[in-house]
């Protein structure tokens, strides 16, 4: 201890201290990051041939924006470490390849077959560790709790996606899409990868079980339909007000004209 305190005025003491601090912070961060990183068991064991095929598809379809080695360019981010789930979501919902640059990538008809998508995913996954495509178990809605999922959804998702999952507006032309008709797998993948403007919900933020509950909740309300009749787009009071001012008052006015008309 004495030796250490003797050297405390050494010119390099500050440097050593800084290095020490950085080392501690870095290792703590790595530890925390590995805990909270979404880990869905990788059931799709990708073969080397898949990776090779995916690489070819990548160079032909994605490299223009993402770079020859997925290192990213001015027009597209690096894909190293985004994981198979990210590719499966972006390509599987038709968002990638992107139709045009804009505030965010729009969903469009899917451009690749399922095989090609999994090859692409295998290639990107081989570039660096990232969230994998969720397994059947984490998507099984029969094991989920819809009520709890609803609570999680309202606290974490409803501010952008609307409490009835009808979607909503974000700033400067960005938006949260409706979740009706989105598959279980894609909902789960969106949560773990945070596509477009969506934040990442890692496994310490929303546990895999809670993610399954959210998926279950969404699928339950989708299957339930609207209990009270036509939902008017589930858009809330604006749609209701518009309806009463157009259809409601319209019918009333038609009757008032009929009641005050005289046979001519």
């Amino acid at each position: 201890m004495k030796a250490l305190s003797k050297k405390r005025r050494h010119p390099l003491a500050a440097v050593a201290l800084l290095l020490f601090g950085l080392l501690i912070t870095g290792s703590l961060y790595t530890a925390a990051g590995s805990i909270s990183e979404a880990k869905a068991a990788d059931t799709t064991t990708a073969s080397q041939s898949d990776v090779d095929e995916g690489g070819k598809l990548f160079v032909a379809n994605c490299a223009t924006c993402h770079g020859m080695n997925a290192e990213g360019t001015n027009t597209g981010p690096s894909l190293i470490g985004v994981g198979a789930a990210s590719v499966d979501f972006q390509v599987g919902t038709g968002r990638m390849p992107m139709q045009m640059q804009g505030p965010q990538a729009q969903a469009k008809p899917v451009q690749f077959t399922d095989d090609q998508i999994s090859q692409l995913a295998a290639y990107v996954a081989s570039l660096g560790a990232g969230p994998a495509i969720p397994d059947e178990e984490s998507l099984d809605t029969t094991k989920g709790d819809a009520a709890h999922g609803g609570t999680v959804f309202r606290v974490n998702c409803a501010m952008c996606h609307n409490a009835a999952a009808a979607g909503g507006a974000l700033t400067r032309g960005k938006f949260a899409p409706t979740l009706a008709g989105v598959s279980e797998k894609h909902i789960y993948e969106a949560m773990v990868t945070g596509p477009q403007n969506m934040p990442v919900f890692n496994d310490s933020n929303i546990t895999p079980d809670e993610k399954r509950d959210v998926v279950t909740f969404l699928k339950t309300i989708e299957a339930n339909g609207s209990a009270g009749g036509f939902a008017l787009g589930s858009l809330g009071p604006v749609a209701e007000g518009l309806f009463v001012w157009t259809a409601g008052l319209g019918i009333i006015i038609a009757f008032t004209i009929w009641l005050t008309s005289r046979p001519s």
């Binding site: 505030p103 409803a158 507006a169 007000g241 009333i252």
Partner: protein
């Protein structure tokens, strides 16, 4: 013993009826009121719609009170709606879910109640717009206009208190805004909020308190004002549109008994049927989608019901800062700083306040500017009062810009435009829109009046092309019939009245101001056709119809 020649009925029913009548005097009332004449026009029926939807609200609301529990006691929902099973919520929310899913006919009654509430305020608004644009608020009906305005405000109050009762996420967000507005007041804000909610928001008292207001105080005030309103309608007689034989001293139409009793009775059931149809087919306020209130989540697409939308829109339009200028003023009190949050208070209170202030004051403003203190029982066609119609249009646009702002997020998503741009454009329209609307509406009104003049003087374009013996083509103009001409020429013509000196020969500053407004309103005007003008036009056309001689009697 005196002998009375009192009527004795010969049948049992007759004796019974006579017994009642000699004690309550109903026959005099029926005789008097039954012969009351009301004019017939579709635009006169929106007040009726409001009345009938109000009756519907009372009926369906009574049903709902049988099952609703206005309590914020925390319970666990165990009803039949699976996606909320086992979730903690207030008893108010749980009982609303029970009404929706477990009470027979409950869902339908809830939807009847909510749809008729939307229709109630909508028909009130359309009714007031009709009264405004036709000038029906003029003497002697100024006070009834004020009563109507208060009824509208009470309608908003009834709607807002009712909207909040289920204690769902959507309405809770609305209450949070009320809480925010209260807290934006310096010094007293936090106290007000604490008193209102019974503690830190959301507290445990607000639902029962809103319930008392919603089912007792507000409806009682509405019923009271409704009686006053209808009583004044009967006293003043109903207004009528101008037409031959219709004057300020008569009412042309049908008597209450039997025509209007039948028509109005039938119309009640029609309105009932329309609301029931809509309620049976279209879902409204699905609180099970929104979930129970919890101060942490705020859903996208959170809006109030349409009638509160304009206030929400004003809040959305208001910037928090303007460059370096902050709308929050920290008042340095001796005990520390208290903030006056103008970025909340200005939009929440000022536009709505200004709108209602101008609305209430308008009959007096108009009377002051026009110096017209006569009784008016004949309505104006909106084009014949260009200044008023233009003011009304400006008000409507002012309201609608704020209204649209309340759905700025849905405009952005559904028309694929950026939310920020929607807000910027609406901010511009907030200031420019009413001015453009005023100018445009006045020009349109004046043009329509000119067209009316043209039709009276030169006839209506018949669409028949005639060829003269020389080979020239011309369109035949048909003279309008005398009824139509009456409507086109007979209107209340307001003119610019220059500043008048008072008894002492002095022109007051107020009078100068009035003259300025009068000039602004009436400088551009289209005068009604005079009989001599009509004669001159006819002479020029070479027409010599017999109708020309009648003209004097028609034109007074």
């Amino acid at each position: 013993m005196t002998t009375t020649n009192e009527y004795t009925a010969s049948t049992k029913t007759g004796r019974l009826a006579n017994f009642v009548d000699t004690r309550v005097g109903a026959s005099t009332i029926v005789k008097e009121f039954g012969r009351k004449v009301f004019p017939d026009h579709w635009s006169f029926m929106f007040g009726e719609v409001a009345l009938y939807t109000f009756v519907l609200l009372l009926l369906s609301g009574t049903f709902l009170t049988f099952f609703f529990d206005p309590s914020m006691t925390h319970i666990t929902y165990e009803g039949s709606y699976v996606p909320l099973k086992g979730i903690g919520m207030s008893a108010a929310m749980a009982s609303t879910l029970d009404i929706s899913f477990d009470v027979r006919g409950g869902m339908f009654m809830r939807q009847v109640h909510h749809w008729s509430a939307l229709l109630f305020v909508a028909s009130l608004s359309v009714h007031m717009l009709r009264v405004f644009f036709t000038g029906a608020f003029r003497r002697p009906r100024e006070l009834n206009w004020v009563v109507g305005g208060v009824l509208l405000i009470m309608g908003l109050a009834a709607g807002f208190t009712g909207y909040s009762l289920p204690d769902d996420l959507l309405s809770g967000n609305g209450l949070r805004i009320i809480d925010g507005v209260m807290k934006a007041l310096p010094v007293v804000g936090t106290y007000l909020s604490m008193f209102f909610f019974g503690g830190e928001f959301p507290g445990v008292h607000v639902i029962p308190r809103l319930y008392s207001l919603h089912i007792m105080i507000v409806p009682a005030v509405i019923i009271l004002l409704l009686v006053v309103h209808l009583f004044m309608v009967v006293t003043h007689k109903h207004t009528q549109y101008p037409g031959p034989g219709r004057t300020n001293d008569n009412v042309v139409g049908f008597p209450v008994g039997p025509v209007y009793a039948a028509k109005a009775g039938g119309f009640f059931f029609i309105v009932f049927g329309i609301v029931a149809f809509i309620s049976g087919i279209f879902q409204i306020n699905p609180i099970w989608n929104y979930g129970p209130y919890d101060p942490s989540p705020v859903s996208a697409g959170t809006q109030p019901d349409w009638y509160i939308g304009f206030v929400d829109g004003a809040l959305r339009l208001m910037p928090g800062v303007l460059g370096d200028f902050s709308f929050v003023w920290n008042i340095p009190f001796p005990w520390g700083d208290n903030s006056l949050v103008l970025s909340v208070l200005l939009p929440a209170l000022v536009p709505a306040g200004a709108l209602f202030a101008v609305m209430f004051a308008w009959p007096w403003i108009e009377r002051w500017v026009t110096k017209d203190n006569r009784e008016h029982h004949l309505l104006d066609r909106p084009r014949n009062a260009p200044f008023r119609t233009a003011m009304g249009a400006a008000g409507v646009v002012f309201y609608c810009v704020m209204w649209a702002a309340a759905s700025s997020d849905l405009i952005a998503t559904h028309f694929h435009v950026a939310l920020n741009d929607v807000t910027y454009w609406l901010r511009v329209l907030f200031f420019v829109g009413p001015l453009v609307a005023f100018w445009l509406t006045r020009r349109i009104c004046l043009s329509l009046q000119r067209k009316d003049r043209e039709i009276v003087l030169h006839g209506r374009e018949a669409g028949i092309i005639q060829m003269s013996p020389e080979g020239g083509f011309s369109e035949k103009h048909e003279e309008v019939d005398v009824y139509k001409r009456y409507v086109l020429t007979n209107f209340n013509d307001n003119q610019y009245i220059p500043a008048q000196p008072d008894a002492a020969g002095h022109i007051s500053r107020k009078e100068k101001r009035r003259a300025k407004i009068s000039k602004f309103f009436f400088e551009d005007r289209v005068a009604p056709v005079t009989p001599s003008e009509l004669e001159a036009a006819k002479a020029a056309h070479g027409h010599h119809e017999v109708e020309g001689e009648k003209q004097d009697s028609i034109e007074k």
